[in-house]
Symmetry: C2
Subunit: 307 residues, 2 copies
């Protein structure tokens, strides 16, 4: 952890140019950096253009697990932010890559039980990972007395013997049956994965249950934490590096949250971390917290001062 | 915490008689002590008869929040265990008494938002506590985009301004909407209560999500623990004492779980605690754990040896 004072770049053209020149890759957290809610910050598009025009690789890194990369591209389109799918790295994609390429599952244990929405399902499909659960409408029902018996004895009509992974993301259709099934699978040896562990999800200026809140009952029941694949987990950094093959010394993580974004970059030993003040963390958090970025700006578009 | 060696009473008629004579009141945990699942242990009925014939007050203490005392009486009837409603103390009843008689709520904040089943609703009704949520079928639906806006601004069409308590018990119909509402209420100042914090619920020899698992997402989101009203919380002991007006020195807690039942009695400074080996805790837990009962028997019906 660095405890030096972060450099303030806003309004300092020379320092901004020097900072940009130090990196080949910029990893962007999105909400709170590029936009807030449905509102794109002024200058976001121009700043991304500036970086691209100087040959920088731009990557959009999001813990949002409900969307696939294709969905997320549509969201960026709707916000008028030019992008392509290959620049997007979501926790649903990160989790799918982890399962498909890193987890060594036995031949007969390759199925994933999903607690989550369609974004996860799409990314699993893209990686040819078989799955059950997720948005299956058959699971949107109450438990019956018969279910308890079938689950207790691991009856294959309810407990698929090929499930070797439980992947928990944000599930707007969480229910008692799905939680019960996820628990039985993990107790029977399935790997416990989470797309991300953000406890809350901001929306309309209020907070709502996040993906971490879906894992919370299972963590309490099992006395076991999941392997998390979103920021700040380094499993996500490894997956990003695996895809873009960059030099970590010449990569910079940009974000508004010290505890997730900046920590993600610092623990990933990236050459740079940059905080913006348009989101969650305050100037005091940035200057005096236990985790500090290399530099900070008031807002991302302050980079336009480098022109 | 006592660290003396628990006395083994099985087969020792004199010790059994002496033990019984020391108490006026016996508080019984039920599952694992009187029965297991749907199966009443042999000798349960005769043991309760023996105690009653010697003038002992018997109290059935259960963390089960889905049942009211009236429901629980029916369960005891079904197991052929004679009882009356006044002998039953459930966590749903404990919570209702706590809200009605102990919590000092402002006049305009007396409503309870319930995450739970009909047992809680019945006990709140018995204590004349107004409530919303619970089994209301209107809450068994998805969140709409409009809901996010209404919740964020605290619109009274969705956020009842009179709610001053969120009470979380076991809810077989837990969903994203209910969790979101519970969170908004607590964030707006409602008291966070839980009937009990057992993470799991045994059924058919397997484990399923318990009441504590319903609180888990809220605990993670809020960074705050609820006040729990079931064993081993002393709020429950206070409520039992308030009702039965006994001398704690002359009361004995009987149970199969060291961490809940025996701890409940020890922390409540009861004169006696008695463990049985027909449930969760083992002889090793009893003899060598950090919390130890005054005495133990292999099974409850060993008390018939006192005849």
């Amino acid at each position: 952890m660095t405890t030096t004072t972060p450099q303030y770049l806003t309004g300092n053209a020379a320092a901004l140019n020097e900072f940009i020149d130090r990196f080949d890759v910029f990893l962007f957290d999105c909400d709170g950096v590029l936009w807030s809610g449905d509102h794109t910050f002024p200058g976001t598009v121009e700043t991304l253009e500036l970086l691209r025009s100087r040959g920088k690789q731009v990557v959009f890194v999001t813990n949002n697990s409900t969307k696939s990369r294709a969905d997320y591209k549509k969201k960026l389109d709707g916000l008028n932010i030019p992008s392509n799918v290959e620049e997007i790295f979501s926790s649903s994609y990160s989790a799918s890559v982890y399962i498909a390429r890193i987890l060594k599952l036995p031949e007969n244990k390759r199925k994933v039980f999903v607690l989550g929405e369609t974004g996860i399902e799409q990314e699993l499909r893209n990686e040819n990972v078989p799955f059950i659960g997720g948005t299956d409408p058959a699971l949107r029902r109450d438990l019956t007395p018969e279910d308890y018996k079938l689950m207790a004895k691991g009856d294959p009509s309810l407990i698929d013997p090929e499930v070797g992974v439980v992947l928990v993301g944000l599930d707007f259709h969480i229910n008692y049956l799905k939680l019960s099934l996820a628990f039985q699978y993990i107790r029977r040896g399935a790997v416990f994965l989470a797309t991300n562990i953000d406890s809350t999800l901001p929306n309309q200026g209020a907070l709502f249950p996040g993906a971490g809140s879906m894992s919370a009952p299972l963590i309490m029941m099992l006395g076991q934490e999941p392997i998390a694949l979103g920021k700040p987990s380094q499993a996500m950094m490894d997956a990003i590096e695996g895809k873009f093959q960059f030099d970590r010394n010449r990569a910079c993580m940009v974000g508004d949250r010290i505890n997730t974004d900046i920590r993600f970059g610092v623990e990933g030993k990236l050459g740079g971390t940059l905080a913006v003040l348009t989101g969650v963390s305050t100037k005091d958090d940035i200057l005096n917290g236990p985790v500090r970025p290399v530099a900070y700006v008031d807002k991302l578009s302050d980079f336009l001062g480098a022109k």
